[in-house]
């Protein structure tokens, strides 16, 4: 019985030593660090990053230049719109006056049909602008 238990402990310890040894060998602690840096893919990636940074700066310059041109054109367009609005308002006032002149678009007199709300009147001492006569 005692020999059987001892054999099991010995087997477990052997398995533990085996796996620890395997992990140590798989980690390759003897490989040098400089060999990884020498990988050409790293160099390609670094070069590409550098190129992209230059392209981003160039694109930013183009965008800035186009933004400035747009702002200048926008200001000119806004001034043109303001001038057009002023011309439209003047034309509208003239058209309204002309429309009123010809016609029947003037509001109809507000004839209430009642004399209850007659306006108040006062006698003043200054000379009249006009004198009413019998109609």
């Amino acid at each position: 019985m005692t020999n059987h238990v001892l054999r099991l402990y010995a087997l477990a310890a052997a398995l533990l030593v085996f796996f620890l040894t395997w992990a140590a060998i798989a980690a390759r602690p003897w490989a040098s660090h400089s060999s990884a840096k020498a990988d050409p893919r790293w160099a390609a990636l670094a070069s590409r990053e550098h190129r992209l940074q230059h392209e981003a700066i160039a694109v930013r310059r183009v965008v800035d230049r186009r933004w400035r041109v747009y702002r200048v054109r926008l200001g000119a367009r806004r001034r043109a719109i303001s001038a057009a609005v002023r011309r439209h308002q003047q034309a509208l006032a003239a058209a309204r006056a002309a429309a009123v002149a010809v016609s029947a678009t003037a509001p109809a007199p507000s004839y209430s049909g009642s004399t209850a709300a007659a306006p108040s009147v006062r006698v003043v001492t200054l000379p009249p602008l006009t004198i009413t006569r019998t109609s």
């Binding site: 029947a104 007199p109 049909g113 004399t115 009147v121 006698v123 200054l126 006009t130 009413t132 019998t134």
Partner: protein, 292 residues
């Protein structure tokens, strides 16, 4: 600054006043107000054979313009409200009295027309939805006074676009706003002279027997017909001036008060609270209706 325009329309001198600076808009509005008088005269004059009113009087019915419908409706409403003292069916009575052409052409003395004078008040049917006006056979309309009041109100509405304005068409005046603190100053003739009223956003009309008078068959006639008798009104009032909200309303009430006579007119003006200046035949002047 007060701009001023004078012209002749509807058988009277018309003056337009506009309290504003001269500019294209104010000039256009003055032109528009003047043309509005001409347009409405062309529609509403009984002396123009081609007017809508003449066509209605000749044919007894018409598919009327909105303006003619409006004025006839106002006149019929006024006939009801004044219990017949204002009546648009006085046409034949006016012709019978000798007022059968424009006043400038009415001879100062002569023979009367063949038409007999009689009570007015025939049936006038107005269908606003169909735009139709139909007169009872033998009935004819005169819209002289109320038409002029309507034109004054319309012209005032046009000028109001530019600012304070006054439209003066003989006895009918409309005031829009005021040019200064005292309002539009309008003189009213009284028995003793002239008093000046300050007007603001209101209208004034004067009706009387002192003008538009002539002689027929040896007796004096005037243009204010009493619809009850169909003859020139016999009243102790010479002239009545009334202030109301619109020139149409003032024109109607001035005529109704003139026909009513001094006592009834004074009582009615006081009861209604309508500012009125009543001048009697013997030159007395009564201020009624709250003139202060």
């Amino acid at each position: 600054m007060i701009l001023r325009r004078s012209f002749r329309a509807m058988g009277t001198d018309v003056q337009l006043f506009l309290a504003t600076e001269p500019d294209p808009l104010s000039n256009a509005l003055l032109d528009g107000a003047e043309r509005e008088f001409e347009r409405l005269e062309a529609l509403l004059s009984r002396f123009r054979p081609d007017s809508e009113l003449s066509s209605l009087n000749e044919n007894g019915r018409i598919h009327a313009s909105p303006d003619l419908l409006e004025v006839v409706e106002l006149a019929l409403d006024a006939r009801t409200r004044t219990s017949g003292r204002f009546d648009p069916t006085v046409y034949d009575a006016l012709v019978a009295a000798g007022y059968d052409r424009t006043f400038e052409e009415v001879t100062q003395d002569g023979r009367s027309a063949a038409l007999p004078a009689g009570p007015c008040g025939g049936t006038v049917t107005l269908d606003r939805s169909a735009g139709m006006i139909e007169l009872e056979p033998g009935v004819h309309l005169d819209l002289g006074g109320i038409g002029k009041g309507y034109a004054v109100d319309r012209a005032a509405a046009i000028l109001a676009e530019a600012g304070p304005a006054l439209v003066d068409a003989g006895g009918d005046i409309a005031a829009i706003g005021r040019p200064d603190a005292l309002g539009w100053r309008v003189g009213v003739e009284t028995g003793e002279g002239t008093i000046t009223l300050g007007l603001e956003d209101c209208a004034l009309a004067t009706s009387g027997r002192d003008r538009r008078r002539w002689r027929r068959d040896g007796e004096e006639r005037h243009h204010v017909i009493d619809p009850v008798t169909g003859r020139p009104a016999e009243t102790d009032l010479l002239r009545v001036t009334v202030v109301c909200e619109t020139a149409v309303e003032a024109e109607v009430l001035a005529k109704a008060l003139l026909i009513a006579g001094e006592q009834a007119a004074t009582a009615e003006a006081e009861a209604l609270g309508v500012a009125s200046v009543l001048v009697t035949d013997d030159g007395r002047t009564t201020l009624a209706g709250g003139i202060v």
